[in-house]
C-alpha cells in the first residue's frame, strides 16, 4: 500500500517533504518511522531513537488528526493515508 508522509520544520530539512512510501499492508506508525529513519543515526536521534520508539515530543497526525501515543501500538495505516510528522518548535 502507498502512504504519503508530510514533514515539517527540522524534519523537512532532514527527511525531505512529501514522501510517497510503499509499505506492507497493516504497517503501523512505528514501522513507518523506523523505515524512514533506516540506519541513519542523525535521523534516529531526531525521530525514532535507537529502539524505534518515536521520541516523546514528536507530533504524529494521520489525515489531519493528531494520533495519541497510546494508540500507536494498535493503529494500522491504510492505503492512501497521509501522515504528518511534526517536531514542535520552541523559540519566541
Amino acid at each position: 500500500m502507498k502512504v504519503k508522509v508530510k514533514t515539517f520544520a527540522r524534519f523537512r530539512e532532514l527527511f525531505g517533504s512529501d514522501l510517497a512510501i510503499d509499505l506492507p499492508e497493516g504497517t503501523g506508525i512505528t514501522g513507518l518511522v523506523s523505515g524512514i529513519c533506516g540506519n541513519d543515526p542523525e535521523k534516529q536521534d531526531a525521530l525514532c531513537g535507537k529502539e524505534g520508539n518515536i521520541l516523546g515530543h514528536v507530533i504524529v497526525a494521520v489525515n489531519g488528526v493528531r494520533l495519541d501515543r497510546d494508540d500507536f501500538p494498535t493503529f494500522s495505516l491504510k492505503e492512501g493515508d497521509e501522515v504528518a510528522l511534526y517536531p514542535p518548535v520552541s523559540g519566541g
Binding site: A9, H57, Y86, S90, G91, G92
Partner: protein, 250 residues
C-alpha cells in the same frame, strides 16, 4: 455593558474597525486586560497590534534587557534601547503608539510562585515565551484559573499557533507533552512577525466573542513553502494538567 466607554477622540482613532464590530465591541476591548508573557520576537507584534487595536490594559512580562542580537526580530526595541529593560522599552513604544491604553511593565521571571501576581486579573494570556519550561507554568496556571492561553512558537521559517480554552480544548501538556529544552533557536524576524499576528488575531476574536478560535486546532506555518496546515487535536483524558478538569459543557 460595564466599564468605561470610548471618547470622541478614540472613536475617530478606531473608526475603521468600528465599521467591523461597532462601539460596543470597542468598549469591550477598552475594558479588557491581556497579559503578554515575553517582550521578544513574538511579544513585539502581539503588543503593538493589541495596543493599536485599543485593548485597554496590557501587562508585559519579561526579565531580560535589550541586546544587540535581539534587534533582527524584536521590533519593540530600537538601537538606542540596548541595555535597558525590555519591558521599559516596550512600555515607552506602546504608550507613544496609543496613549489611551495602560501598560503594566513587569521585569520579572515567571515561575510557579510569581505567575499569579504577574498575570493578575488578565482574562487572556499570550504565550510569547522562548522556552517550554515557562510555557508549562503558564499552561498549568491558565487551566487552573480558567484563563485563555494563546500559544505561539517559532524556529527558522516555521511556526505554530494554538489556543488553550480551559475545560474545552487540549492544553499545552496534552499537545506537547515532552518538549526538550533548546537554546539559540535560529530565527528570521518575519516568522515571529507572522505567528505573533496570528496570536494577536486570536486574542481580539476571543475578547470580542467573534469568529472561530484555534481551540483543538494546531496551525503550522511553513514560511519556505508559504503553506499553513492544520492538525486537529483533542484533550487527553489522562492529561496531568487538564485531565481532571470538569468540562465547561457539563
Amino acid at each position: 455593558m460595564e466599564g468605561s466607554k470610548i471618547s470622541v477622540e478614540e472613536s475617530e482613532r478606531y473608526c475603521r474597525q468600528l465599521l467591523i464590530f461597532g462601539e460596543e465591541g470597542q468598549n469591550r476591548l477598552k475594558n479588557s486586560h491581556v497579559a503578554i508573557a515575553g517582550a521578544g520576537g513574538l511579544g513585539s507584534p502581539v503588543a503593538y497590534y493589541l495596543a493599536v487595536a485599543g485593548v485597554g490594559s496590557l501587562t508585559i512580562i519579561d526579565k531580560d534587557v535589550v541586546e544587540l542580537s535581539n534587534l533582527n526580530r524584536q521590533i519593540l526595541h530600537y538601537d538606542e534601547d540596548i541595555g535597558i529593560e525590555k519591558v521599559e522599552s516596550a512600555s515607552i513604544k506602546l504608550k507613544r503608539i496609543n496613549p489611551h491604553i495602560t501598560v503594566h511593565a513587569k521585569s520579572e521571571n515567571i515561575d510557579p510562585s510569581s505567575v499569579d501576581s504577574l498575570i493578575g486579573d488578565a482574562s487572556v494570556i499570550v504565550d510569547a515565551m522562548d522556552n517550554f519550561e515557562t510555557r508549562y507554568i503558564l499552561n498549568s496556571f491558565a487551566v487552573k484559573n480558567r484563563k485563555i492561553l494563546v500559544h505561539g512558537a517559532v524556529r527558522s521559517f516555521d511556526g505554530q499557533v494554538t489556543t488553550v480554552i480551559p475545560g474545552k480544548s487540549a492544553c499545552l501538556a496534552c499537545i506537547f507533552p515532552d518538549v526538550k529544552v533548546s537554546d539559540k533557536v535560529p530565527v528570521i524576524g518575519i516568522t515571529p512577525g507572522i505567528i505573533g499576528l496570528l496570536q494577536a488575531n486570536e486574542v481580539i476574536k476571543h475578547l470580542l466573542g467573534i469568529g472561530e478560535g484555534l481551540g483543538n486546532r494546531l496551525l503550522l506555518w511553513d514560511g519556505l513553502t508559504g503553506r499553513l496546515e492544520e492538525i486537529k487535536l483533542k484533550k487527553r483524558p489522562d492529561c496531568p494538567v487538564c485531565g481532571n478538569e470538569y468540562s465547561m459543557e457539563d
